[in-house]
Amino acid sequence: MTVEQLKEKLGLKVFGGEQGLANEISGGYVSDLLSDVMGNADTGQIWITLQTHKNVMAIASLKDLVAIILVKNHEPEEDTLAQSNEEGIPLLGTNMSTFELSGKIYELLK
């Protein structure tokens, strides 16, 4: 499934990084602890978090993650959004909680 398809199925909001919407999702990782993501997320995964600052984009880029989804209506900070657009890594949003969103994505990807 591509990021675009996931976005359509779940009605996710696209904040930025549209260039990367066609990329294929290999799986997902859920954490708000940055060194947990650094140590355990893997290439091609989607990352679900409530962290909105620029370091999440730095990590997504360094780890070659395919997109970030911000939960519970969190909005990215300005420089986070700018880096998402620069790198072409989609930054998405939802009003769902982490639990609800993860469950839905898990079902769709399995």
Binding site: L33, L34, S35, D36, M38, K54, N55, A58, L62
Partner: protein
């Protein structure tokens, strides 16, 4: 080849810049992807530790066709007990740093897991030196 990068303590907007430059360079050198991934994890954690825990630092990078050596030298409070600091979950991060999602006490364990060779030396009240070595042929 030799490169140097400056790190500013407390400046999280620049955290990860040097790691990103090192990643790009290793890709250009066609280093094995699995080795690049491990290098990136170890370097990022070391870089963020200078930002989160020290006042300022310099990264010295030496790379040839066989290996990369990344040495981070900081001026900062130092680490009184390195063995304790290496334990997963141990952190002295400030509440501001924790709110950002840092401070899980997983950075040093990540470095240990991913570096081929990791050396840490520290002097309390002066600073810390971290050396990460990666070999390109496995």
């Amino acid at each position: 080849m030799h490169f140097e990068y400056q790190i500013e303590g407390g400046n999280f907007t620049r955290a990860g810049f040097a790691s990103s430059e090192i990643k790009k360079m290793l890709k250009q050198l066609n280093v094995d992807l699995a080795i690049i991934k491990r290098t990136v994890v170890a370097t990022y954690e070391a870089e963020v530790n200078v930002v989160a825990h020290a006042y300022s630092g310099t990264i010295y990078v030496d790379v040839d066709e066989k290996k990369i050596i990344i040495k981070l030298v900081d001026e900062g409070p130092g680490i009184p007990d390195i063995e304790q600091a290496m334990k997963e979950g141990y952190s002295t991060a400030s509440s501001r740093v924790r709110e950002m999602g840092f401070g899980a006490g997983m950075g040093l364990p990540n470095m240990k897991k991913n570096a081929d060779d990791l050396k840490i030396s520290s002097e309390v009240g002066k600073g810390t030196t971290v050396e990460i070595r990666m070999r390109f042929s496995s």
